[in-house]
Symmetry: D2
Subunit: 355 residues, 4 copies
C-alpha cells in the first residue's frame, strides 16, 4: 500500500533490527540503571565509532538529550546561541530553559539554516559591555543536519567552534539527524563532531530507526560531571537501561544508522530532483539530508493534500516567497511512495487552473 | 539456572506479552506524539479498567510520572506531604523539586510505611500560623504499596484524602506497585484510587513487566491543564508514542498487570512465611505486596551474600533493631529461586558460629 | 559644581522629600512585613491616585517588580511578548526567566521602541499551530516610557491590550519611568494604565527620587493570588516595610512623582532642542520623556568625553546610522548642567577636525 | 511610653546612626550598581573588621542573603544540611529551593538549636550509598546565634566545619544575629567565622539597627564566582547602592553593631534572670543572645497578652513540655520596658487562679 505520509521522520515505525535487539535483550535479571553489559558494550562501541575516548549516556528523546546537554554547559544566568529555527529554540516548549533553570536561548538568523562565526560578534560584545546586567555567554548549539535540511561541513563547524571556544563557550551539537549529515558528507563521525570542536553531542536514533533512543556524548569527560544527577532528577534514567542501550548498539554497530540515513537521503534527493523539473516548482534549500523544502503553487499544494498526501506548510526563510512545504523522507520510505507523490505533483501542476 | 537476585523488581526483563506488543505495534506510519490509535485505545481501556472518565498520559519512568503529577498539584511555593521513606522524598534526586520549581517535600514518620490523617494536623497548623513565611500546603502523596511493602486499605486512603481535601490539598498516589496492592486487597482499581479520593495517579508498569512504561492518570480533568506542556518541556513526550501506549495496553488488558502482581506477591509470601520459621529470623513488616523486610543475624546475611544471593541491607524502621535486609520478588520470580534462598538461609542459620 | 553625568537617572541621589519620609518613619515599634500603618496608608493613597480599587506591593528594585509581576502572569511553559529592547529582555540578567521558572521572553522589533498590535499575529499563530511543542502565549509586557524615550498614547496601549486580551494574554506595564510618561501625556495615571487595559503595573520610583522603592500594582485582585508567596520566597519582603512604604507615600502624595518627572522631561527637551540645532547633530528619536538619543560625529563624542561628560554610546535602532549616544536627565538635573553640556557640544562641533 | 512589643527584633525602627548615614550619603551623582565610594569603603571596612581578605556584597534582606549564599554552594541536585528550626528551613517560604533551582534542605534535630558533627554521618552515608538516586551533599548551614537563642562556640563551629569540609561540603553561616553571638562570646568576628571554617557568611544588620541591609561575605573568593549574576538576576542589585553600603558602614564602623547587640543581649539577660525567679516559670533554653524562651502557666500568658504585651507562643523543643513563649529584645529595648513586663508577670503569677 502506498505510504502518503511525508510529514516527518518521526511517524515511522522502528527498524526491524531495533525491535530484534529489544527482544534479544529480554533475558534474565540484570543490574538496573545502566550497570549492565549492554550499556558497557554501548560505551565501547561508541568509542570505536567515534574513534576517541568518550562518555555516552542513553536517554529517551531528543528534547531530553538537548536540554540535559545544554544544562551541563550553561548556568541559569547563561546564554545559548543557536540558529533561530533550532529545535531547542522553537520546538521544545522551553525545555532548555527548564533544564538550565532559566538560561536564555538566543536565536541567530541564517537563510540556509546555518549560522556563521561572525554572527557571534555582536551578541558577545553586547554581553561584555553590559556586564552583570546581561546573561553570560555560555554555549553555542549547532544543529547537524540543520532544520532547513542543509549540512555544515566539518570546516564550517570548526570555524564556529573556534569562535565559541575563543570566547569561553562550550559547543553543543544537536545531532538529531547526525546520521543523515554524515551520510551526506561521507566523512567519519569523528570529523563532524569532536575533531571539528564539538564538546557535547546529542545523537539521534529515534527518527532514523529506534523506538525511542537518543544519547548524549561527552568528548570531554570533565563537562559530564553533573550529567548523571541531572538525568536522574529529570526522570530520564531508565531502570531497565538494557532496553535503551540495546537499541543504540543495534543502531551504531554494523553501520545501520548510516545505511538508514543514506537511504532516507537518497529518497529526498530523488524527490527533490524530480520535483524541481516541474514548472512553477523550485527548491528553497539545497537538499543535503532527508528534508525537501519546496515552493509550489497553492493549487498544487491543495491538490496533493486532496490526494491524501501528508506534509506541513512551512514559513518561508529570509528572502524566499510563495507557498512552501516541507517533505521528509525516512529510512523506510519506499521509492514507489516517492514516485507516487511525484506523479500526483505532476498531475496537479499540469491541471488547468480552477475557474 | 537459579536466579539469585532479590535486589529489586527493576532488575527483571520484560514480560513476553510486552515485547510482543511492541513488535506488533511496529507496522506502518502513524501520527506522532500520541495522535495514534494505540494511544486512543489506551485511554478507552484505562477508562474501562478504572470504571470512570479519566485522562491518561504515558511516560517512561516512575520518577517522571511522580514529578510531573506533583507539578500539576503544587506551585513552586508549595509543600507536598508524604511518608518520610517515600520514593519522591529519598530516591529521585530531587525530581519533584525540579519539576515544581522548588516546592518542599515534607516527610512524615510511620513505622509501617503509612501515614495517618492526624499527622497532617501539626504541619498544616504550623503553615497556617506562619502565613507567607511558610510554603503553602498543596498536595498529599501516598505510596501504594508503600516503601515498606505494606498496603493502605481503601478506607485508610479515604480518611487521608478527606483530611487532605478538607485542607485544600490535592491527593496524589505513587502507584509504582499499585498492581501489587490491588492484588493484595482484592479490590477494584477504582476502589483504591478515585473512589478513595485520589486525584492524580502515577501508575507503574516497569517493575511489573514493561520495558519502560508508566502513566499519569487524572481523575479530575481540570487538574491536567498544564500536564501536556510540562511533559513536552521535560522531554517526556515520545514521538513514537505507539510504543509506549502499546506496552500499557498489553499491561492493562486481559489482566496481565494483576496476574503478574499476584505472582510476585505470592512469591513474597512464600519467602516470608518460611523465613519466619527460622530461628533468629523475624519479619519486620507484614508482607502485603512483593517486598520482604526481614531481620536476621549478621552471620546469616553474610552467608547468603557469600552464596551469591543479591539484596540490600536496609535501615531499620522506628522501633526495630538488628540487621535488616530487603528481599524483592517479581512477576518472573521462580518458586525454585525462592526455595533456593530458603534452603541457603536455613543452612546459614543452623551453621555453627564462626570462631 | 557642574554635574557632568548624563549616564542614567539611577546615578542620582534621592529627593529630599524621600529622605525626610524615611527619617519621619523612624519612630517606635511597628508590626513587621507590611502590617503597619504606612503600608496601609500607601494602599489608600495608590487607590486615590489611580482612581480604582487595587492591590499595591512595595519591592526594592525594578527588576524585582518586573520579574515578580511577570511570574504571576506566566507559567514556566509560557511566553512573554515585549519590545526587543525591553529591560526585561536585555538588562535583567534573565530575571523573568528565573522568576517564572523558565518562561521565554520574545522580543519584537519597532524602530521607535514601541510594538504594534499586528506584530502579535505571527507569533500567536505560530504558537497555535505548534501546540504543545511551543511555549504558550501568556503575557504582553509594555514599557512606558519606552527604552527609546518615547511614550505610548493611551489609545496605543488600549489597542495592544485589546489584542492581548483577545488572545488570553495578561498585560503588564514596566512603568520604571511611568511618571515621565504621564508628565508627557498630561493624562491621569488611570488613563495610561488600567483604563487602557493594563492588568499589572511595575511602578518605578527609584530613578525618579527614591533611594530604592518600586511597587507592583494589581488592578485585578485575582491575578495577585501568588504574589505574596513569590515576593517572600524571593527575599523581597522587607521586615521593616514602613521604610519602603514611606518612600512610596512621599513619592505619590502631593504630586512629587509628577513634578520630578516633569522637571526631568523639561531638561531633556531643553537638551534635545538645542542639540538639534547644531550642525551634524540630529535626534534619533522624538524626546517624550527624560532620555535623548542623538547622533553626532565621533569627534564630537570624543570631545565631550574628554571634557568629562559621562554618557553611553548606544546601538542604533533599525534604519539609523552613525555614532549614537544616550543622554539621560533626572529630577535633579540643573539647567546649568544642561547648558554646560550644550556649550561643550557647540565647541566640539565647531572645532576644526583633528589632522 | 512603655513599649510592650517583645514579638521580634524586626519590629524596631532603625538606629539613629543608620538614618544619619543614609541622609549623609544623599549628595551628588554617583556611579550606580556598587561602583561608588561607599561600597568601596565598605569592602575595606569589612576586611578590617574581619581581619582578612574577603568579598562583601550588600543585599536587602536576610532571606535574600541566605538564599543567594546557598545558591553559590549548592547545585540544583544538592542537599543543604541545617538545624530543623533554621530560618532557611522553615521561615523563608522556600527561598533556598527557589534560588538553588530545587535543592533539598535537610533539617537535623537538636534540642538547644545546635547541630553536632556526628549528626552528619547518617545522611552523608545514606547519600553515598544511594548514589545518583539521592541529592548530593553540598553545604552545611549554621545559624549564629541559633533560632533558640543559643550560641555556638568557635570550637563547636570548627568541629562542624571540619566534618563538612572533610566531606566536600561548603559551610555557610546564617549570621542574622551574628552581632549578638559575638557580643556574647566576646570573641573577634574572625574567630567565629572564617577562623572557625566558615566559607560564606550572611551578615545581618536589619534586626540590629538598619532599615534594610544585610550582606553576603565570601572568605574564599573562588566561591563568589556566580554571585553577582545571581544577585542581579534576583533583582537584589540596588542601582543606588550607596544607600545600602552606607547603612552597613555605619553599622560596622565604630562598633555600632556590637554595642547594639550587647544592649539587646543585656536586656534579654535581665528579663530572663528575673523571670526565672518567679514561681512556675522556667527558662527553656540558656539565654545567650537576645531571645528568651520561657515556659510559664497558660493563665500567666493570657494575663500578659491582656495587659497588651506582644510576643509569640512557641512550639516546644524536644524534651520540653508546657506552654512556651518567645520574648525578643533589641538594640532599642528600654530597661523600663523590661521591668514593666516583669512587673506584669509577677502580678499574673501571684494572681489567684480564675475560678
Amino acid at each position: 500500500m502506498t505510504n502518503k505520509s511525508f510529514g516527518s521522520d518521526n511517524i515511522t515505525p522502528a527498524a526491524p533490527e531495533i525491535i530484534a535487539a529489544i527482544a534479544a535483550a529480554n533475558t534474565g535479571s540484570l543490574h538496573s540503571y545502566g550497570d549492565d553489559p549492554y550499556t558497557a558494550r554501548l560505551t565501547d562501541l561508541a568509542r570505536d565509532v567515534f574513534e576517541t575516548d568518550l562518555t555516552i549516556y542513553p536517554v529517551t528523546t531528543g528534547t531530553a538529550a538537548n536540554a540535559l546537554a545544554l544544562a551541563t554547559l550553561t548556568p541559569p544566568y547563561g546564554a545559548v546561541y543557536c540558529h533561530e529555527t533550532a529545535h531547542i529554540a522553537t520546538d521544545e516548549c522551553g525545555a532548555p530553559e527548564f533544564y538550565t533553570a532559566g538560561a536564555k536561548i538566543v536565536g541567530l538568523p541564517g537563510a540556509d539554516g546555518k549560522i556563521r562565526p561572525a554572527q557571534l560578534d555582536v551578541p558577545l560584545r553586547r554581553a561584555a559591555n553590559m556586564g552583570v546586567h546581561h546573561v553570560r555567554p555560555a554555549a553555542l548549539s549547532l544543529t547537524q543536519a540543520t532544520e532547513w535540511g542543509t549540512v555544515y561541513t566539518p570546516s564550517e563547524i570548526r570555524a564556529l567552534s573556534d569562535a565559541a571556544h575563543a570566547n569561553g563557550l562550550g559547543v553543543h551539537m544537536d545531532g538529531s539527524r547526525l546520521a543523515n549529515a554524515i551520510a551526506h558528507l561521507g566523512c567519519t563521525p569523528a570529523e563532524t563532531t569532536w575533531k571539528a570542536g564539538i564538546d557535547v553531542l546529542s545523537l539521534g536514533a529515534t527518527k532514523n530507526g529506534a523506538i525511542a533512543a537518543e544519547a548524549v556524548l561527552f568528548f570531554d569527560a570533565a563537562r559530564a560531571e553533573s550529567f548523571e544527577s541531572r538525568r536522574k532528577r529529570a526522570g530520564h534514567l531508565w531502570s531497565k537501561m538494557r532496553f535503551l542501550s540495546a537499541q543504540l548498539i543495534a543502531y551504531l554497530e554494523h553501520g545501520l544508522w548510516l545505511r538508514n540515513a543514506a537511504h532516507a537521503n537518497a529518497m529526498a534527493t530523488r524527490l527533490a530532483d524530480r520535483l524541481a523539473t516541474l514548472p512553477g516548482v523550485h527548491l528553497v534549500q539545497p537538499v543535503q539530508a532527508n528534508e525537501v523544502f519546496v515552493a509550489l503553487p497553492d493549487a498544487t499544494i491543495d491538490a496533493l493534500l486532496q490526494d491524501g498526501f501528508e506534509f506541513y506548510r512551512w514559513p518561508a526563510p529570509a528572502g524566499a516567497t510563495g507557498p512552501l512545504i516541507r517533505l521528509v523522507t525516512s529510512f523506510c520510505t519506499d521509492p514507489a511512495d516517492v514516485d507516487a507523490l511525484l506523479a500526483a505533483a505532476k498531475r496537479a501542476v499540469n491541471a488547468p487552473n480552477p475557474p
